[in-house]
Amino acid sequence: MTSTTPAAPAAPSAPAAPEAPQRRGRPAGSPLLRYLLVRFLLIFPTILILVSVVFVMLRLTGDPITAALGGRLTPDQLQERIHEAGYDRPIVVQYLDYLGSIVRGDFGTTISDNRPVTQVLLTYGTATLELVVYGMLVALLIGIPLGRIAASRRDSGGDATLRVASILAYATPVFFLGMLLKLVFSVWLGVLPVSGRASTISTLKMSREGSSTGIYLIDAISTGDGAVISDVLQHAILPAVTLGLITGGIFLRLVRTNVMGTLATGYVEAARSRGVGERRLLRKHAWRPALIPIITVIGLQTALLLSGAVLTETTFEWKGLGFQLVQYLLARDYVAVQGMVALIAVIVALTNFVVDVIAALIDPRIRY
C-alpha cells in the first residue's frame, strides 16, 4: 500500500477534472466515414455468406440438369449435359467457379429456356423494384401518420381501432387480400384492371416510343402520352396497395410503440414543462428519436416486402422476379432460382447499408 504520493504525476488530476469537456466529436466526419466504410465493407461478407448458403442448399438436392430434365432425357443424354455444364466436377471446384463468375457478373444460363440469368434478372428485377418501391410508399404513407395518431391518442377508441386494423392488415395472407381487392375494384366496381403491368396498347407504345428502363412509370412518362401514364398507374394501384397494406400494418404498430416510448421520456416531459405544445412534442421532440429504431426495422422489413412481392406478383401477374421465380421453381430450373435468390440477397444487403447510413444521419451518437 504505497501509492499515496500526494502529487502523483501519473494521476491525471488536471484542473477542473470533473467537468473537462469531452472533445471526442469534432464536426469533421472522420468517425462517420470510418463507420460508413465498415458498414460498406460488411456488405461483401454478407453477400458471400448468402450466396454460399443458397449454393449449398440447392446442390444438396443434386445437380440442376437432373432436377430440371430428369425423366425427359435418357440417362446417357443427361450424363452428357451434366458433363458439358461441368456439374460432374468436385463440388468445391464448382463452388469456386460459381463465385468467380458471379464476380464477373455472370450468373449462368437458365436450363428451362436457355437465357442468360443476368438478362432475366435485369428484365424482371426492374419490375419487382418498381413494385417494391410503390409498396414501400404505400406502407410508409399508411404506417407513419396513423402510427403517430395512435401513439398520441393512446388507449382511445381511435387507437384501439387502428391497432385492430393493423393486426388485420398484416395477418391477412397477401394472395387473399389481393383476390379480395381484385374482386371489389376490378370485378364488381370495374374501375381498376385485374392484372398485368400495363394494357397491350400501352406496352406496345412504350416499346416503340418510350425509353426501355424496364421501370414502366419512367418508360410511360418518356412517351409523353397521358393515357399510357394513367394506364400504367392504374395497373400499379392494386398490387401496391396489397403489398403496402401488409407492411403498413407492421409499420403502424412499430411507429406507435416507438413514439409512445419517446413520448414518455424525460426529455419530452422536460420540453413540455417549458411550454412546448403537444403537437410539436409529437412531431419533433418525440418523433426524431423514435425514428432510429423505426428506420432499422424498416430496413429489415424490406426482405419481407420482397417475399411479399413474390405472392403479390403471382396474384396480379405482375411479371417481376417473384412471378418469374415461381415459373422457374415449377420448372425446377435451379440455375435461374440460384441467380434470383442471390440478387434478392444483394438487394437486402444493400438496403441494410442504406438504412445504416440513414440511421447515422439521424442519430448524432453514431455520427460523432
Binding site: 488530476s13 420540453a271 448524432p364
Partner: protein
C-alpha cells in the same frame, strides 16, 4: 395551516393543495393540505423521503401531473406577462393565475415563462438527437416569435451564463458530447433562457458526483442573487439544504410537518420526524471509534507480530475494457495496490468512473483482470479459470446496489435467499434450505413470513436486507457490497447500515464496501481507500484520510461534500472555493 408570505408578494402561493391519484387499488392521496409560498429571490427547500409528496407538490406548480391525478386547493403563480406590464403593482393587486384551473392552452403558456423546472437526471431530460442550442431555443420559440438567429444568440448567451466554455462552438454540439455536470448546466440554461420568476429544481444534484454537485450548487446559488429568481429546491439531501436554502419545509406522508428558516430548522428542529431525519444523516467523524477493540479480537486469533494472510491482496492491479472498432482499450483500474485483512472492512470511495465497482467485480470474479496481481482467498485472479475459482466463489458474498433489480421477480424471497445454498449444493432445493433461510431472515431482522413474499411486495430497505441475507447465506469470509445503500432513503439507509455493522461484528467477515458517500464509508470502514480515475490516490484509517487528507483530490472531495449544518457549511464553502 396558512400560507406564510415572507416577501412583499409571493412568486408562487400554494394554498391547501391536495392531490389524489386514482389507482387500481383505490384512491391514493399523495399530497394533503399543503400550503407553501415563495418570495422573489428566495430559496425554499422542500425535503422529505421518497413517497413524501415533495415531487408531486413541485410538479403541480406547473400542472405536470398525470391524468390520473385530481387536485384540490389552489396553486397561485404570479403571472409574469402581466407582472411586467403592471410595473410596481402593489401586494393586493398582484395578478396571479391559478394553475390548477387553467385550460391546457393557457397552462402551456405559463409553463417555462412563469416557472421552469430543472430535473434530476440531466442525461435523460436532454434529447439525444438534437443539438443543445436547438433544445434551449425550443423553449423560446414556444413563448414568442423568435428568429433563428436571435434564438441561437440567446442560447449561446444562456450557455455562457451557466459556465459552458466556448459556447459559440458548443451550441451546436449534442448532449452526449458533454459531461454529466455540463449537461445539468445546460438543463439549467434551458430554464434560465426563459427568464422565469421561479425555478423548480427537483433533486438537481442527486445524479451527480460530489465534486460536480458542488459546482452545480454554486451555480444555483448565484440565481437568486444575480437574477432575483426564486428557487424551489426539492431534495432529500440535508447537506444540499444546508448549503443552498433560505427556508425549509419538511414533508412527511403528504403533509408539511415543519416549516422554518434554515438556521432554526437545523439548530432546533421541532417535529419528531425532522429530528429523526437529521439524526439519520450520516456525518463524517460522527462514529465513535470502536474499531480498535474489535480489531484486537481478530488479531488475538493470529500471531501478534505477523498479520494474518490477507483475504484480498492486489498488487499493481490493472483492469481494462476493450475498445470498440480498434480504438484503444479503456483503462478502468490502473496499478492499484490494496489488501483486506480477515475480518476487516475496507471502504473503497470514488466518483463515477473511478473504477471502484470494477475492482469489486474483479474480486468477485465477474470481470477479468488484465494485468498485475489480484489474490482472492489464496487464488490468483489474473488468468484464473472458472473451474479453479468456483470453490472460492462460495466463500464470497455480493450485495448489489439496486435491490429492485437484483432479485428475480418470479421467485419468492425465500427462493432467492436459498439460491446460493442450492447452487453450491449445500441444500437440495429451496424448501430444504428453508430452515437456514429463516435463520438468515431473522439475522437481517425480517419476519420469517416475508420469505413467502415476492420481491415487489417488499420496500427498498427490506429488499436490501433480503439481499444481505442472500449474500450471507453461505457464511462468506468476504463480502463485497457495491453501493448497498445508495438507492435507499436516509432513514432506511441508517437502519440498513446499522444492521450491516452489527452483522459484520458478529460474523466477522471481511468486507469491501464500495461507495461514493464518504460519510457512509466512514461509518463502517476500518480503513478507507480513495480511487480517482482508476488510480488509488490515498489510503489509510478513517481518521487519517478524512481528518487529514494528503492528496489534492481527497481534499477536494471532502471539501465538496456539503454538511448538514448551514453555519458550518458556509465556512466550508469558502474553503471549497479556495480549493477549486
Amino acid at each position: 395551516m396558512s400560507a406564510q408570505t415572507t416577501g412583499p408578494r409571493a412568486v408562487v402561493d400554494i394554498q391547501d393543495l391536495t392531490v389524489t391519484f386514482s389507482t387500481d387499488g383505490g384512491d391514493v392521496r399523495a399530497v394533503r393540505g399543503v400550503s407553501l409560498s415563495v418570495a422573489p429571490g428566495e430559496v425554499l427547500a422542500v425535503v422529505g423521503e421518497s413517497g413524501s409528496g415533495k415531487t408531486v407538490t413541485a410538479r403541480s406548480i406547473l400542472g405536470l401531473l398525470p391524468s390520473t391525478a385530481t387536485t384540490e386547493g389552489a396553486v397561485l403563480l404570479s403571472d409574469r406577462a402581466i407582472r411586467d406590464e403592471v410595473e410596481g403593482a402593489d401586494d393586493s393587486g398582484t395578478p396571479v393565475v391559478d394553475v390548477t384551473r387553467l385550460r391546457p392552452s393557457l397552462l402551456r403558456k405559463v409553463r417555462g415563462r412563469d416557472a421552469a423546472m430543472v430535473f434530476q437526471e440531466p442525461s435523460s431530460v436532454l434529447n439525444p438527437v438534437f443539438p443543445v442550442g436547438w433544445q434551449i431555443a425550443e423553449g423560446l420559440r414556444a413563448h414568442a416569435n423568435v428568429s433563428r438567429a436571435e434564438a441561437r444568440e440567446r442560447a449561446i448567451e444562456a450557455l455562457r451564463q451557466v459556465g459552458i466554455p466556448d459556447p459559440e462552438h458548443r451550441v451546436d454540439h449534442y448532449p452526449h458530447q458533454f459531461s454529466g455536470g455540463q449537461k445539468q448546466r445546460i438543463v439549467i440554461a434551458q430554464a434560465l433562457v426563459l427568464d422565469p420568476g421561479l425555478i423548480i429544481a427537483d433533486e438537481p444534484t442527486t445524479a451527480l458526483d460530489v465534486t460536480v454537485q458542488a459546482e452545480i450548487l454554486e451555480l444555483l446559488r448565484r440565481l437568486p442573487k444575480e437574477l432575483g429568481t426564486a428557487v424551489v429546491l426539492i431534495t432529500h439531501n440535508m447537506g444540499v439544504v444546508a448549503d443552498l436554502a433560505d427556508r425549509v419545509a419538511v414533508m412527511y406522508d403528504g403533509e408539511i410537518v415543519e416549516q422554518a428558516d434554515v438556521q432554526t430548522l437545523f439548530r432546533a428542529p421541532r417535529h419528531e420526524y425532522t429530528k429523526a431525519l437529521l439524526e439519520a444523516v450520516p456525518k463524517i467523524g460522527a462514529r465513535a471509534r470502536v474499531t480498535e477493540p474489535a480489531r484486537s479480537v481478530v488479531d488475538a486469533s493470529a500471531p501478534a507480530a505477523d498479520a494474518p494472510a490477507p483475504v484480498v491482496e492486489a498488487r499493481g492491479l490493472r483492469i481494462t475494457y476493450p475498445g470498440r472498432l480498434r480504438q484503444p482499450a479503456f483503462v478502468a483500474v490502473d496499478g492499484v495496490d490494496l489488501s483486506i485483512a480477515p475480518g476487516e472492512v475496507l471502504g473503497l470511495v470514488g466518483e463515477s468512473g473511478s473504477g471502484k465497482t470494477t475492482i469489486g467485480r474483479a474480486i468477485a470474479g465477474l470481470t477479468p483482470v488484465s494485468g498485475g496481481s489480484l489474490e482472492v482467498l489464496g487464488v490468483e485472479m489474473n488468468g484464473v479459470k472458472e473451474r479453479q475459482f468456483r470453490p472460492v466463489r462460495r466463500r464470497i458474498g455480493f450485495v448489489f446496489q439496486d435491490p429492485a433489480t437484483s432479485f428475480n421477480p418470479l421467485l419468492t424471497i425465500a427462493q432467492c435467499v436459498a439460491e446460493p445454498l442450492v447452487v453450491h449444493g449445500v441444500a437440495r432445493d429451496a424448501s430444504a434450505a428453508r430452515p437456514r433461510v429463516d435463520e438468515l431472515l431473522e439475522a437481517v431482522q425480517l419476519p420469517r413470513a416475508f420469505g413467502d413474499r415476492f420481491p415487489h411486495e417488499l420496500s427498498g430497505g427490506q429488499r436490501q436486507r433480503a439481499s444481505l441475507a442472500r449474500a450471507l447465506a453461505l457464511d462468506p469470509e468476504l463480502l463485497i457490497a457495491d453501493e448497498p445503500t445508495s438507492a435507499l432513503d436516509v432513514s432506511v439507509q441508517a437502519r440498513v447500515l446499522e444492521l450491516f455493522g452489527r452483522l459484520q461484528e458478529e460474523l466477522g467477515f471481511a468486507c469491501l464496501f464500495v461507495s461514493h458517500d464518504l460519510a457512509v464509508v466512514d461509518l463502517l470502514a476500518d480503513r478507507i481507500a480513495v480511487l480517482h480515475r482508476g488510480v488509488l490516490v490515498e489510503e489509510g484509517t478513517g481518521d487519517q484520510v478524512l481528518a487529514d487528507p494528503q492528496h489534492a483530490y481527497t481534499q477536494r472531495l471532502l471539501a465538496s461534500l456539503p454538511v448538514p449544518d448551514p453555519v458550518e457549511q458556509a465556512g466550508r464553502r469558502e474553503r471549497w472555493a479556495a480549493l477549486r
